[in-house]
Symmetry: C2
Subunit: 192 residues, 2 copies
């Protein structure tokens, strides 16, 4: 499994033998069964995850309602906005599939950046990539109609439709499950 | 003006005399008049900005309509999601006030990170801070009702209400100007 991580890292930096060994020795790859809650509202977040296989959902509990705000799948980084900040999380992180992830912590990060400064350059670059993604997602969410949001999701992450329940997809798109059904029916009729 | 930048940086890293000199000599602080368009749809983005004074608005042109997605003010970094990526921008960046900013470029960044590795650590930390902010903003936007969004904005950025036109605030909140008026009236009546 760690080959996936190493392949991913090698897109951005040169993996020296020493770094390779450190990754293999650190043993920070873990398995989580479907349903595992990685983080609960009110908890401190001291772990971040690079998903090798599986799917993690982020949701908020608003007046008893689960509001899904994100799905993370292969080669994505799951990092709570409260990670390492010593303030209680406002959301939940839950494995919606059996998940294999490489697990990081502020301490491990600090140690690895110290030993391998190129990892800190990489973290900066990946941070930039993720920030751009969030910027674009936020802008798109503000600008697009619900139907456009659905079509964009179909285009960008077609696998999600098969992997997670429809009511979670609807919540993620900011619409009611009935509205999602209507949108799908309307688009299906257009295709005929 | 560069004192603002140096004060800001010194919250995170030690400013050595050499770094201080490099900042002063690089002369990357520029003035932009109100109305200046820093980036247009279709352009390549090769500049990022740290705002020392003023306000920059990000907007998209959707079918002839301006959709405002962000406002940047003092001590905020304006960085297009297309910055340094050699792909056309999908949005505009416009100064809505006379603005003073420290201007960066991919080349200047690379040179400064090479000369002052602590700046790259700082960039990683600030990138993390900004990413968390975007994550929270996106989640809040998805979860909150329009009235809650307005109240959150009032709480978090009260100055914006005085600095930018109401129709841009409405657009930023994802609602029509009439809806914003209604929300304000309703809240005013509650206070009575």
């Amino acid at each position: 499994m760690e080959e996936i991580l190493i392949n991913y890292l090698s897109k951005y930096i040169t993996i020296t033998d020493e770094l390779l060994l450190a990754i293999k020795e650190s043993g920070f790859i873990k398995n989580f069964s479907k349903g595992t809650v990685l983080l609960s509202e009110g908890d401190l977040s001291n772990e971040c995850y690079f998903i090798l296989k599986g799917c993690v959902r982020c949701y908020y509990n608003k007046d008893g309602d689960e509001k899904t705000t994100d799905f993370y799948t292969e080669e994505q980084v799951v990092i709570s906005s409260s990670y390492g900040k010593n303030k209680p999380s406002e959301h939940y992180l839950e494995c919606v599939e059996d998940t294999v992830a490489s697990v990081g912590s502020p301490e491990l990060e600090a140690e690895m950046y110290h030993r391998f400064p190129q990892l800190e350059s990489l973290a900066r670059i990946l941070g930039d990539v993720m920030m751009s993604k969030y910027q674009d997602t936020l802008a798109e969410y503000k600008i697009a109609s619900p139907e456009e949001r659905y079509l964009n999701l179909l285009k960008d992450r077609p696998d999600l439709m098969q992997r997670v329940p429809q009511h979670q997809i609807a919540s993620y798109l900011g619409i009611k499950p009935e509205s999602l059904s209507r949108i799908r029916k309307r688009l299906l009729n257009k295709q005929k």
